[in-house]
Amino acid sequence: MDLNIAIGGPQGGGIDTSSNMINRAFAEAGYNVFGVREYHSNIKGRHSYNHIRVKEDRPRSLKYPVDIIVALDADTIFEHLEDVGPGTKIIYDRSFESSDLSQARMIMRDTARRIKERLDGAGFPNTVKGAVAYMKSQGGVPIAVPFNDVVAAATSEGPASRYFNTLGSAVTLSIAGLDKKFTIEAIKQVFSNKEKVVAENVKVVEGAYRYAAENGMAGTPLKVLPKKKRFLLTGNDGSAIGKLMGGLRFQTYYPITPASDESSILEEHEDFAFIEAEKKRLKKGGVVVVQTEDEISAVTMAQGAALTGARSSTATSGPGFSLMAEGIGFAGMDEVPVVVTLYQRGGPSTGLPTRNGQSDLLFALNTGHGEFPRIVLSSGDVEECIYDAMKALNYAQRYQLPVIHLIDKNLANSTDLVPEIDLKRVPVPQTLRTEPLPDFHRYTLKTENGISPMGYLGKDIFWMTGDEHDELGHVTEDTEMRDAQMRKRFKKLETALSEIPQNDMAVLYGPQNADITFVTWGSQKGPILDVMEDLKAEGISANLLYLKMFMPFPTQFVKGILEKAKLVIDVESNMLAQAAKVIKLNTGIEIEKAILKYNGRHMTEDEILKAAKDIYEGKTKEEVEVLENGA
């Protein structure tokens, strides 16, 4: 089975709850799900949707056209006009049919204009009825469900519209052929066993399944797969879990999308549990999460905590990261172990606050004035978020510098079923020290690898300054000391390059030699791995040079692969092909072909495949293919 679902409705209308039901119901039946959440910067009313894919083995990407569109409001039909293909089932309420595009005030004006042009061009009326007819002309199968009647027949508790999301999910699951018991189990989980709410929603599920059966919509029963214990996680969850496992005990943040979910998750789990073997030995403690007055405060407060020995970090997105520049510079100059998790969204400025982007790579590599070492790493899926967050904290401690962990919005808001969390994959060094260091020189030059012993406020007496400093940490403008301290700081980067395993910096997926070599980072990893299989089925071999660390940069490894590659295609969610620029800077190799997307929506398997084939087969003379999928 390979099922793609788009479920949409008004923001605040329970779309997340619906998706959660669908995810959990399939998971209960042993299937794997993967999804992405798309939403406006708006609290109530504007269009939001979840794109979900269900498979027996783990889906890694999403695909258009979808198999089922669930429209919980009229806008969804208009917004997803182009997402249908032959056989796409369109579930909606017949009462939407009279809705006119000109009255759809919550659709962005430019979007409405484009929809109008499309409908007018194809000769369909500007109503939902017309839009559905258009979708039908593209092969879609409209399924009008009387939402109000079905709900009213099931429950009279509260307004019917309250249950539209449950109804939409249940109809979808029924069409997919999923046994009702899994849907009911999902309802219980989603509503956290709140008896009354569960009972009413179960009635709606029963009603939806009954309606589907009576109207010949119910799908062939799906086989039930062996059920496994799994985590249903987003990228935000993954990073929060990894941080706690990696010893994080102090986190700061200023509210910003899509970063603050991570801090909220940490706050919800501030009273964490120790592993069984350690419960007796350890004193109970918690993680301190502080909402600050701005991001300048967030990045500097985290450093204050780090200076006492606490593992600490902050999480932000582009606009907040811009404010953090001076603080990151201090961490570089003063060798403060601090992790900044940078959730990238569409920029510049406020940009696309709730949409995807990978346009902060060059900024992350150059944040702050002056020259100082830092580590910049990136994650590409939810599991990587967990272990990379742990590693980021380790790097910060080991090399005493700012570590910037890049996660894109698409990944932050992806949901994935993670089969297990490996407690022994990443070691966690204990750095707690109770005795002061004698004759302590915080920035001693007597070091081969550039790393000096870390000092802890409250234990050691030492000084620090954002000025250039001597070994004690006092201000200096001496020429030789300046040179020596600059070299010492940058020596740490060489040390890091020699100590960090190759696989944590870059990975080659697929055969050594291939017709196409993709280069990417972040959340395109999954889609490209799927595209590689699609290409293989068509007799085209492909591999993927997947980048995880940009500073220090795995120059030799990358060079080795690109020098012998036949056709290299760089795939990124930005306009300037920033990773390709970093490669050029480090290796001198210029990547000529690129597939780029900067409309803020997630890259899907189908569009990458098409663009890659166009480039491979010479159908396009352009060096850059720009992708446009997504509502």
């Binding site: 403690g285 918690g286 007055e293 407060m301 200076l307 006492t308 003063d334 966690v428």
Partner: protein, 308 residues
């Protein structure tokens, strides 16, 4: 033997600078309180005041312009046992760092903020600082100051600071006592220190201040303290403090304006939610199991995210 809080780093402030009086008051106050060098830390910003930590024999961080408060807050929250003093300039606290200054009043973390208030940006050659009067013309200004002044006392009160005082750097006896009270205060405290800049401020000189300063407690009825159980006097004492805070010109009050001991510090508020926070704060936690891997169990901690 008592720890000596002075060290041997050469002090490069101008001769006659008011900063010397503050430095001496700090070292004397901490010495008299019998602290050790690792019981106290100093977190400063930028400028002449920012150099203070280098002249103290204790943990010291000379941070970024305006950012001393958030750095200090991080230190205090991660290790609440520490006494954290924040010697920073009027520009640091009330100009570039004004947002942090206001936010810290709300937090009441337990920092001792010492504002070096000389009305000028000395290290950059005497531009007007946020505490300079509108229309004031010092010798380093090309034209009279076109900005109004921020009142450190009333801003501190409005922001929620639970201890607000003013000292004069040439009255070290009083300043030392104010610092001791502020350090022992459980919440965050502000001491606005009138500190003449002999090089760039030729208006608000030592003599100018000497003619004007008086002590609030010269009035035997002055009682700014609110102890637990006396919450009903908060409004009245706050208003009196605010009134006194507005006084400026021929007479300038010094001493304690407001000392509210009923507001729980941020560390106490956190202790209500974070397990064992005060006994086992972030700085003291063991983060690894004996086998060198994580000691946090994600299966139990994040059980809400597991599909069984």
């Amino acid at each position: 033997m008592a720890h000596n809080f002075k060290n041997d780093v050469t002090v490069d402030w101008c001769p006659g600078c008011g900063d010397f009086g503050i430095l001496t008051s700090i070292t004397q106050a901490l010495g008299e309180m019998n602290f050790n060098g690792n019981d106290v830390v100093a977190i400063s910003g930028i400028g002449c005041s920012g150099k203070t930590p280098h002249y103290l024999n204790m943990g010291g961080v000379h941070t970024l312009h305006g950012r001393s408060i958030p750095y200090a807050t991080g230190v205090k929250l991660a290790n609440p046992r520490l006494k954290v003093i924040v010697p920073s300039g009027d520009g640091d606290m009330l100009g570039i760092g004004a947002g942090h200054f206001v936010a810290e009043g709300r937090r009441n973390t337990g920092l001792t903020l010492i504002i070096y208030d000389n009305e000028v940006y000395g290290l950059t050659k005497g531009q007007a600082a946020p505490t300079m009067q509108l229309g004031e013309k010092t010798k380093s200004l090309a034209r009279p100051n076109v900005f109004g002044k921020v009142n450190p006392i009333t801003l501190a009160l409005s922001s929620g600071y639970s201890f607000v005082a003013r000292g004069f750097s040439f009255d070290m006896k009083q300043l030392k006592e104010l610092i001791k009270m502020a350090v022992m205060h459980d919440g965050s405290s502000v001491i606005d220190v009138l500190q003449p800049c002999p090089t760039y401020n030729n208006v608000n000189t030592m003599e100018w201040y000497r003619e004007r300063v008086y002590k609030l407690d010269e009035d035997k009825n002055w009682n700014p303290v609110i102890n637990p159980g006396e919450e009903s006097t908060i409004d009245e004492k706050f208003q009196k403090a605010y009134q006194k805070g507005l006084e400026w010109g021929d007479r300038i009050p010094t001493g304690v304006f407001y000392d509210n001991r009923t507001i729980p510090s941020f560390t106490k508020r956190l202790a209500e939610f974070v397990p064992n926070y005060l006994e086992n704060p972030p700085s003291e936690q063991i983060v690894a199991a004996t086998d060198g891997y994580t000691n946090v169990d994600p299966y139990v901690t994040f059980a809400d995210k597991i599909i069984q």
